[in-house]
């Protein structure tokens, strides 16, 4: 899915902000990207959503060498990537529905398809009554949910999220996390940049830790409470696990299929809060026919 080999990034004539980055994320894997502020998380995410090119090294995404790809080929690759920006980056003059619909409009979807899918997804993230609201009138948490809905509406193959639950309460955070997990179950590769160690524990996915521009791989943290099961780490290059670290689920097979966990056998306490008839993510959204 994504392979970085000896990737380095420098801006202008400055020092390298990322050095010798090596990793290989398999399709359908789930990872958290952690590290202190200024360590290079944002630069790494920018590389992954094709906003910048590396100063050196090789980046392969979706079986294409993006460092050598022609510029005209990049939009098609970007459409396979959903991004949740830390500052949301919603268009202030568009309604929530129009913001979420953007990826579908760009992809040339029909209007009836757009309206149906977008409204359904917005309802699922708890914004059914806010679809015509513009971002300046939405709270931070609502804006964040709109940003997440925009990132996932087109069923991306890769979802990159920068602090996606930073502005919502715990209940909504879990609900959104559940959405990511469900997306992951149907094959979307997920990378979430976060400072929230509890979040990583809840999902029990491996960590990509970046510090001072260099990346290290860690196994999932020990959960302190029941976890959401994800198909993480299938075949990724992993650093040797410290002896103290143990897999989240004893005996969990790293090569297990991505859909090993189903909503039916998922722990009940991982269901989104505020249970409603559509408690699971809207079937049309992540799992329906792409539009």
């Amino acid at each position: 899915m994504i392979r970085f080999e000896n990737v380095g990034v420098r801006y202008g004539m400055g020092p390298e902000v990322l050095r010798d980055i090596n990793f290989d994320l398999k399709p359908g894997s789930f990872h958290f990207l952690t590290g202190p502020s200024g360590a290079g998380k944002s630069s790494l995410l920018r590389l992954m959503y094709l906003a910048v090119k590396p100063s050196r090294g090789l980046i392969s995404m979706f079986d294409q060498d993006v460092t050598k790809a022609e510029r005209k080929d990049l939009p098609a690759l970007r459409r396979r990537i959903g991004v949740v920006f830390q500052d949301f980056r919603l268009l202030p003059h568009l309604t929530a529905l129009e913001n979420v619909a953007l990826p579908l409009r760009i992809a040339g979807a029909r209007e009836d398809q757009i309206k149906e899918h977008v409204a359904e997804l917005l309802a699922w993230v708890g914004l059914a009554d806010r679809i015509n609201a513009r971002p300046p009138t939405l709270s931070g948490g609502e804006q964040q949910r709109v940003a997440i809905a925009r990132a996932v509406i087109a069923r991306p193959s890769l979802l990159l999220a920068d602090e996606p639950t930073g502005n919502v309460d715990r209940k909504m955070g879990e609900r959104l996390l559940h959405l990511f997990v469900e997306l992951n179950k149907i094959g979307t590769t997920i990378v979430i940049a976060t400072h929230d160690s509890g979040l990583a524990e809840r999902v029990n996915a491996p960590l990509l830790t970046i510090e001072d521009g260099q990346l290290s791989h860690l196994p999932p943290p020990l959960p302190s409470e029941p976890t959401l099961r994800v198909a993480y780490g299938r075949g990724e290059r992993r650093a040797p696990a410290p002896e103290s670290a143990a897999p989240a689920e004893p005996g969990e097979d790293l090569d297990a299929p991505a859909h090993a966990t189903t909503p039916e056998n998922a722990p009940s306490d991982t269901s989104p809060p505020d249970a409603s008839p559509s408690d699971t993510p809207p079937p049309n959204t992540p799992s329906s026919t792409p539009v």
Binding site: Y49, L50, A51, V52, K53, R71, K72, L74, P75, A76, L77, R78, R79, I81, V83, R89, L91, H93, L94, L97, E98, A101, L102, P103, R105, I106, A107, E111, I114, K115, R150
Partner: protein, 293 residues
């Protein structure tokens, strides 16, 4: 409004939306006047050529009056027997005086003033006449007669008109270039204001053509609006000029008339203005986007 037709990049509240149509209107106004000048001069030159290319004048300036009359009769006889000559009509003394009156004033042409005898000759449009050979034949029968084909006089007028036409074309070209420059600045300003929106669209997979289409639609509307306003005002100005020049058609000045060519040019101009604006905006956006990763 349909979701798909609603602009993603909200340019309507941009200063260019309010000012640019008026700037384009001024440019369209100047272009319309310039093009009207080009068309009018072009038609005038063609008319002058058509009117004078088949007319020559024989003038007998020297000698006693009786001798001049004899020479005149000889020339008329010669011309009437020459193939390719439709008519050879001697002008009366009062007709010649009438030609001088615009310069000397009515009633100021005294009888003692030596005025030449003139013969107005109309050449056949179907048959070419060798004017050099004709001049020699006339000189043989009337030594004091001169054949004037108006060539020198007409050529100076035509040269003047052609140069004025070139200047008018230059003005139209400069107006077009100035319009392009203004639209480039307006587009860049719009891109700077909406940089974040453009970046988001770019990052979620919008092609350059999709982003450019947002700008080109906006600038197409502004160009059409400005073009219609400018050409509308120009039309009023040209009607005024045409009205003022009415009655001066006998004088040798280009007369502004609303020919089919001029009307077509004026109708096309707003469309051209809008397309020029749209294409300039599109090129500016795609050029700027090509510098993004």
């Amino acid at each position: 409004m349909s979701l798909l037709r609603r602009p993603i990049i909200y340019l309507a509240n941009h200063p260019s939306g309010r000012l640019l149509p008026w700037v384009i209107a001024v440019m369209a106004y100047l272009a319309a006047l310039g093009l009207a000048g080009v068309v009018t001069l072009d038609q005038s030159v063609a008319n002058w050529r058509a009117a004078l290319s088949h007319t020559v004048t024989v003038q007998i300036t020297a000698g006693e009056e009786s001798a001049r009359n004899t020479q005149r009769d000889a020339v008329v006889k010669l011309l009437k027997n020459t193939p390719g000559i439709d008519s050879a009509l001697p002008m009366t003394k009062s007709e010649v005086k009438g030609l001088l009156e615009p310069w000397l004033g009515t009633g100021n042409v005294i009888d003692d003033l030596p005025i030449p005898l003139l013969i107005d000759v109309t050449l056949s449009r179907d048959q070419d006449v060798d004017l050099a050979a004709l001049g020699k034949k006339i000189a043989a029968v009337a030594p004091d007669a001169e054949l004037d084909d108006h060539g020198n006089w007409l050529q100076r007028f035509i040269d003047l008109a052609e140069n004025m036409k070139l200047i008018a074309e230059g003005i139209v070209t400069l107006v077009g270039l100035a319009t392009v420059a203004i639209v480039i600045f307006a587009t860049r300003a719009g891109m700077a204001i909406h940089h974040d929106t453009i970046e988001i669209l770019h990052l979620i997979g919008a092609k350059d053509s999709f982003i450019a289409s947002q700008f080109q639609r906006h600038f197409l509307r502004l160009g059409l609006k400005g073009g219609l306003i400018g050409v509308g005002i120009a039309l009023l100005s040209l009607l005024g000029i045409s009205r003022l020049s009415f009655g001066l058609e006998d004088a040798f000045i280009p007369r502004l008339g609303f020919s089919v060519t001029l009307v077509v040019v004026l109708l096309i101009l707003p469309v051209l203005a809008s397309f020029l604006t749209m294409i300039t905006a599109r090129q500016t956006v795609t050029s700027a986007l090509s510098r993004m990763v």
